[in-house]
């Protein structure tokens, strides 16, 4: 086996990008107290939206804005159903993801007459890759850190923006207050549904970026079911990190590695692709188990360990 490890790591960064955005999207709604599985469908809609807007607007930037716009709109749909319509959020998200899966194919077919992908029928646009001066000339590091998609750098920046938003701004404070004790926020006249809508708007922006990356950077077209669980993986990543932005990004990176590993092995080995395809999903399940076990053990240790310490006193 002859694996190009540098390419592998660079690839992992690339694959982690949509996951980081997905995780940030889920993280903001989580901070407002909502477990939003709808990111999966939101990203899917945005991915299609990006391609369509780019095609008709004739520019990659129109496409990017279009993707974000679709992210916002779909976020508002979920928010409306669960906050105003008072539908169980789980059920809303499952229903929405169903609609997104069918609806994107439906729209794609109406526009192109094709049900599997827009490649060939809608023009391809690509978000530019950026070479970073100086760094790009460093061996190894240059190949990894430089030459990535603009959105990959934006993802890194976004992690800190989200941290800043939550910790330093008024709306961040209100989002956290609502997430931790909605009645407290309500009692001082903060509208809980309004904060919910706002957090879904932020969520929509990041879901839009995630979708735009998939259809204009990872590949340059939209294809049926192209998100393929990345929304759920991002959701799990932020869950592992307990809703902390930097931790969520690191967890996403871990899943990016799993994704990249699956792709690299597929290209370089003869192992059945079906099993390699399972890697990201199995990695997610494994990660969920590990996080829960750690959390459970920690709680047990506190409850028992301090008991011992107390007995020894």
């Amino acid at each position: 086996m002859n694996i190009d490890w540098v390419a592998f790591i660079a690839d992992a960064l690339k694959m982690a990008t949509p996951l980081v955005f997905a995780a940030l999207a889920a993280l903001i709604t989580r901070q407002a107290g909502m477990f939003n599985m709808g990111v999966e469908g939101m990203i899917l809609c945005s991915a299609l939206g990006s391609v369509v807007f780019a095609h008709f607007g004739g520019s990659v930037w129109v496409g990017l804005l279009g993707g974000i716009l679709i992210g916002l709109v779909t976020g508002m749909i979920i928010a409306f159903s669960s906050l105003t319509g008072k539908t169980d959020l789980y059920l809303t998200c499952i229903a929405f993801n169903l609609m997104a899966a069918g609806g994107t194919v439906f729209v794609m077919y109406l526009l192109t007459g094709d049900k599997s992908s827009t490649a060939g029928s809608l023009r391809s646009y690509q978000i530019p890759n950026i070479d970073i001066p100086l760094i790009k000339d460093i061996p190894v590091l240059g190949r990894i850190v430089s030459g990535q998609s603009l959105l990959t750098y934006l993802a890194v920046l976004s992690v800190f923006l989200v941290w800043f938003l939550l910790k330093k701004t008024r709306i961040g404070l209100r989002i956290r207050a609502v997430g931790e004790n909605p009645s407290a926020a309500e009692s001082v006249g903060i509208s809980v549904p309004k904060i919910g809508y706002i957090s879904f708007a932020f969520c929509g922006i990041f879901a839009g970026l995630s979708g735009a990356f998939l259809s204009m950077s990872w590949v340059t077209f939209f294809m049926k079911n192209m998100v393929n669980g990345r929304g759920y993986i991002g959701l799990s990543a932020q869950n592992m990190a307990g809703g902390a932005p930097v931790g969520s990004a690191l967890a996403s990176l871990l899943f990016g590695f799993a994704d990249s590993l699956s792709i690299t092995l597929k290209n370089q080995t003869t192992f059945p692709t079906e099993f390699l395809n399972m890697i990201p999903y199995l990695a997610t399940i494994l990660a969920i188990i590990i996080t829960s076990v750690i959390a459970i053990n920690k709680r047990r240790r506190i409850e028992k360990g301090t008991a011992k310490a107390a007995a020894e006193e």
Partner: protein
Amino acid sequence: MNKTQKIESVMEVVRILAGLFIAYAVALVILFAISDEPVFIVQQFIAGPFSSARRIGSIINLAVPFTICGLSMCFMYAVNKFNLIGEGIFMLSACMVTWVSLSLQNLNLPAVVMVPLMYVVAILTGVVMAFIPAIMDRKFNANVVVVSLMLNSVIAYLATWILRYKVRDSSIAYMGSKEIPKSVQLPGIFGKFRVQSGLIVAIICVIIIAVLFYKTSFGWKMRLVGANPRFAKAVGLSALGISFAAQLAGGAVAGIAGATEMMSNYTRFQWTTTTQHGFDGLLVAVLAKKNPVLVPIGALFLAYIRIGADVVNTSGDIPIEFVTVIQGIIILLVAAESFLSGAKNKLIFKAAEKDEKEKQAKAAA
């Protein structure tokens, strides 16, 4: 109080009907908007499913897996776990039936042995697969929705691998298995309607599960746990154990659904992705308000709009996917608490006011 209860139950039916009606209206509007010959298409969508004995039979055929999957989701939904593993189980159990029946082909066992055996295989498949998210939920408190969805992807690849490397018939042009033995191919019934014999399986399932839900202590336990798990624990029920068992039972039923579909509607296993039946089951369970008795009604309705979509797909080139959008709208409307709640509260207020006045009149007298 009596009036309140009546108003609540009447409004519940009104709500579901109104939800269906709105979704249906949306479907018609979409068709009207995108079709070149809207009148014809809308007419096809509404009446098409009843236009021939064959199509009526198709509605029933389609309603069979929807019913059994709906029953499967009733178990999950009854204990408030949105365990969506049924989606994967449906595919895998069909695949396992194919694999096992082909492996046993040389034994030439009669149908009376093979068919029950296949159901055992399917149920085992369902239980084993449902076990994974259920045990993770129980032991690690892991989110059952995310885990089951991840697992569905894994299952889809696993089933595809079995298809490709274990049962594939390389003599046919498309990706499909060898033909399953005649002994496991269930015959059609009702002559020209061409109804699958799975109908009988579905009916038996509805009866058994309805009795299980309402007449046995396990059913009581599930419903109590679903209604308030902390309360269930406080009165001495093992909430975790019961919701775990309910999820396994749901998995077993999903297995039955997959096997029935495979044995009555197909001769070769040919799926390379999951089939949406698990999600359809969720829709049916939501429509039926997790009541097994109402599941067939929800399933028939869903089958009707699906066949309608099928008809317009073939006769008017409208992509069938628009139905999933309609399905989503139905779930959202039917499950939305505040949908029509204003009307309900007004009615209750009026009734209470009237009661109050009557009381005062009585007191005065």
